[in-house]
Each structure stands twice: as C-alpha cells, then as structure tokens.
C-alpha cells in the first residue's frame, strides 16, 4: 500500500510539470508586455526596464523558465511586487480562512448531496425526484455571488441571524468561527451539491437496476439498508470521481465567495493582486490551487481500492 502511495505521489510530478509549463507559456507568450502593464500609464522607459529586470523578463525565455522551475522545486513562488514579501509566506498567512471555508463546504455539501441523490433515485419519477433535480439545475445556473448576496440580504440584513461579512479565526472559538462560515459555505457549495447529487442519482439508478438489488429486495432487506449499504456502496466510485473533479468548481468559487463575504483568504489575496497587477502572486496562487486539485484527485484515485475492493492495481 505504501509503495502504491509513493508511486502515485511521484506520478503527480509530471502533471505538475505540465501545469508549470502551461502557466509559464500562457503568461509569457501572451501578447502584451507585463512590465509595461504593471508599471501603468505615464511611466518612463527606464522604469519599465527596471520592472522587467526585477521580474527577470530581460533574460531569454528558456532561462526564465529554468529559473522559475528551479525556485518552484524549492518551494519559492517568487516575491510579491506590492508587498515585497515572498508569495509562499503571503499564501501561508492567508491559508486558514480558505481552508476553513473549503472544509466546512465540502463536509456539508458531500453528505447533503449524496443524501439528496439517493433520495431522488429512490423516488425516481416522482415529484420528490423532480424537485431535487430541479434544484440541481438551479444550482448549476445561479452564480455564486448572486446566491451570496441573496443569503446576505435575507439572513444577515433582514433576519439578522448571521453576520453579514468577515471571518473569525478558529482560535477565537468554534461558534463564532462557524457563524461566519455558514452563509459563505452555502453559497460556495450550491453548484458542488448540484453536481454530486446529480451523479449520485444517475449511478444509483444504474445500480438499483442490477440483479443483485432485485435479490436483496426479494430476500426482504429493508429499504434504508438496501439503499445505503447495498446500493450506495456499489455506486461509490463514480461519486468519488465527481467529488474529486468538482474541487475545480470549489476553487473557482472560493475566489468569488471570499470577495462577496470579505473573507481574508487566498482568494482575496489573488483578487487584490488583480488591481495591483501583482503578477507573481497570481502565478503562485495558480500553482498552489492546481497542486491542491491534483492532490485531491490523487487521493480520490487512491480511495478507489478502498471503496471497491474489486479494483486492484
């Protein structure tokens, strides 16, 4: 098992290598001179040249790439143009709110979505099924920030049940921490819930049509154990795949959610960097989020053998 994990971890390297190449190529071969854009309007050519030298843009492209990959391997994501600090430490400082938000969202969303999906499959064709699927299509269609403002408007401004915005570190108590995360997690989780509920329903319907399910029913297994112990277990692998792939949705959503709810996380870091054209931060955050995505999907891959013992590598 440990051998497998090590082997799979090593297999991440080429993918991350490709990510590095893609990010580098896309940003360096894109038309437009980053140095001129970072410098802004009305600047002297000397200033542009200085910024170019600071970014290493005066070097040949292959050299820039090697330097960048070299520092990536040592965990160095470069220096922020605005703050002067290293990007790695800036991300580190902002990590807690983002991890908290992601954690609460995933926990609630996965259980809720699987519950809804199983329910819809069990009641296939009925009103309940149609309601759940209708909700799923809505979840795909309403943008994160619209849901966010709707929640703020209803639950924070009118009903005053929850804080409008902001973040409280978990060190100041679990209850205030959670209170601040309820609305952002719902806003962020909508599309994710929709995605997982949908795949759960589809796979459950496939499994429920199998012969062994008819056997289980015939020998008198009760409804709930039949759905959860017999059927869901056999539907686990495709669901796990989507739980992993869906993290891409969450990553995009985190950036917007943190802006709506004014949460000082990694997403805010990147949004603030847009206006300041703080290019190393944007590049560094892309690398970190891509790494998270690849790692999560690796964990999902590893979970297959655990979820379905028939799968052996």
């Amino acid at each position: 098992m440990i051998g497998t994990i090590v082997r799979r971890l090593l297999s991440m390297l080429p993918v991350m290598g490709v990510v590095a190449v893609c990010v580098f190529l896309l940003l360096h071969l894109a038309p437009g001179d980053p140095a001129a854009i970072i410098a802004g309007e009305n600047v002297s050519p000397e200033n542009i040249a200085r910024i170019r030298a600071q970014l290493g843009l005066d070097q040949p492209v292959w050299r820039q790439f090697l330097v960048w990959v070299g520092s990536l391997l040592t965990g160095d994501l470069g220096q922020s143009m605005f703050w002067g600090d290293s990007v790695t430490s800036l991300i580190g400082q902002r990590a807690e709110p983002t991890i908290s938000l992601a954690f609460t969202t995933v926990m609630v969303a996965v259980f809720l979505a699987i519950g809804l999906g199983v329910l819809a499959a069990a009641c296939a064709g009925t009103l309940v099924d149609r309601l759940v699927m209708g909700f799923a299509v809505m979840g795909f269609s309403v943008p994160v920030f619209v849901v966010g403002y709707l929640l703020i408007f209803v639950f924070a401004i009118n009903l005053k049940w929850l804080p409008v915005q902001g973040y409280t570190p978990i060190s100041e108590g679990v209850a205030p921490w959670l209170r601040n995360l309820v609305l952002p997690s719902i806003a962020l989780g909508m599309a994710y819930v929709a995605l997982i509920a949908r795949i759960t329903r589809t796979t459950m319907l496939d499994v429920l049509a199998e012969d062994y399910m008819r056997t289980a029913k015939a020998k008198g297994v009760a409804m709930r154990p039949m759905l959860f112990r017999h059927a869901l277990k056999n539907a686990a692998v495709p669901i796990a795949t989507v739980v992993g792939n869906g993290v891409a949705l969450l990553i995009g959503g985190v950036v917007i959610t943190e802006t709506v709810f004014n949460i000082p996380g990694v997403g805010r870091l990147v949004v603030d960097a847009i206006a300041r054209r703080d290019y190393p931060i944007i590049q560094g955050v892309i690398m970190v989020f891509s790494g998270v995505y690849v790692l999560v999907n690796l964990l999902v891959d590893l979970s297959y053998t655990f979820l379905d013992p028939r799968i052996r590598d």
């Binding site: 080429p14 993918v15 991350m16 290598g17 490709v18 990510v19 190449v21 893609c22 990010v23 896309l26 940003l27 894109a30 038309p31 437009g32 980053p34 854009i37 299509v137 809505m138 795909f140 269609s141 309403v142 943008p143 994160v144 920030f145 619209v146 403002y149 709707l150 703020i152 408007f153 401004i157 995605l195 792939n245 869906g246 891409a248 949705l249 990553i251 995009g252 950036v255 917007i256 802006t259 709506v260 990147v270 949004v271 960097a273 847009i274 206006a275 054209r277 290019y279 944007i282 590049q283 955050v285 892309i286 989020f289 891509s290 995505y293 690849v294």
Partner: protein, 275 residues
Amino acid sequence: MTLRRFGRRNPTIVIGALLLLLVTAAAIAAPLIAGDPLLITPVDRLLPPSEKYWLGTDHLGRDVYARAVFGARISLLVGVAVAAVSVVVGLGIGLAAGYWRQVDAVVMRFMDGMMAIPAILLAIALVSLNRASVFIVVVAISLPEIPRVVRLVRSVVLTVREMPYIEAAVSGGSRGRKIVIRHILPSTVAPLIVQATYIAASAILIEAGLSFLGAGVPPEIPTWGNMIASSRLFVARAPWTIFAPGTLLALVVLAVNLVGDGLRDLLDVRLARRM
C-alpha cells in the same frame, strides 16, 4: 413531427430556447428598447423601480433596466464565442490525438495539466496581464474549456476507429485525413452540440465572475457582473441594483442549461459532461 408535438415531448428545450430567443432579441434591439446605459443622473440616485426607471437606478443614478438590457449583449456574445472557439480548437486537437497515436500521449499529458489549472484563475491571470478587451476575455475563458472538448472528441474517436466500417474504409484505400473527416467526424457532432451548450453556460458564469472581480471586459461596458460589483455596498439600501442583473444572469444560464439537458436526452448522448 409537428412543432407542437416536439414541444410537448421536449418541454425543457422549448422553454429554454424561447427564453434565450427573447433575451437575444432584447440584446440586439437594446438601443431601441432601452435608454442610455451610461447616462449618469446624480439627482436620481438609488431610486427604487418606478414607471420612469423600470428596474430602479444605481448609486450613480444610472438606469438599471438600460444597463441590464445592454449587459445581455456581453453575456450572450461571450457564451457563443467561447463555445465556438473551444469546440473548433478542441475538435481539431481531439481528432488528431484520437486517430494518430504518436500525437496522443504528448497532447493528452498537456491537456491533463491544463485541466488542473483552475479556469477562473487562469482567466484572471490572462486578463490582468493584457489590456482589458472582449477578445482577451473570450480567449481566457476558452483555453481551460479546450481540454474538456479534446477529451470528449478523443473518446468518441477511440470508440469509432475500432468499428468495422472504418476498417472497410482503410482497406478500401482511404487515407488518414479522409477517414477522420468523412467517417469519424460525423460521430462527434451530437455529443459536441450538447457539450457546446454546457460550455456556453459555464462561459457566461465565468465572464460574470470575472466582471464581478474586476478582471473582465473594460469597466465602461455594462455587464451583469460589473453591475453587481459596483452595487456591492448598496445591497441593503438598493437590493434591485444587485438582484435585477443577478436574476437575469441566473435565468439565462438556466435557459442554456435546460436546452443542454433537453438536447442531451433528445440526442441520447451520455458522454457530454458538465464542468
């Protein structure tokens, strides 16, 4: 099949398509049916919906209705353009990767890497490193969608190329390019149509997200995303400034998704995937 019977069998397509038709017509006729979206009238700041301003005014006294109608243009344009660009490019790469094994390994590793990059962040990076324009927004949103199209096309090619009729074409002396275009390409059309609608829906959402974050098209062009962003501080005082464009945005994406789901059932495609 008459139109009415089609409608009864595929209500989602018809409802979605009608809604889209209506919004498209409004977007095209915008100068005729709405006033100046840029006109600032400070005395009329933050007015609730009324006879004069159907959807109220924002904090600069601009007509929310006019801005919303003009905003539809960008959303629809970006949705269609991104779907077209990513399908055309992805189709080319996917056909090549699926049919010619030598290209396959390299291309697919590259696509795996591209898929790992979060779409919205890649778009933010590209948009903020270039002068803001509709063109760069379309390119930035298309790039992350391409790998999904490539994967879809490639999987169709891999299935089809084993079919006896391809073998027949090969033994009949057809050459590679002709086989791909004449015999394999047609099988990709149905799943691509469905995929293209999902891509359009996600492109509209991402464009709105980018505009909202201040990394979209130039700020002087009204879009649903930047309307919401500029009204952020007024959610309590003037909720219409946020929920009018927000509702339109959700409705349009919903309509596109409904058409996509309907087409998927109609064309019986299981390959096309959201995301």
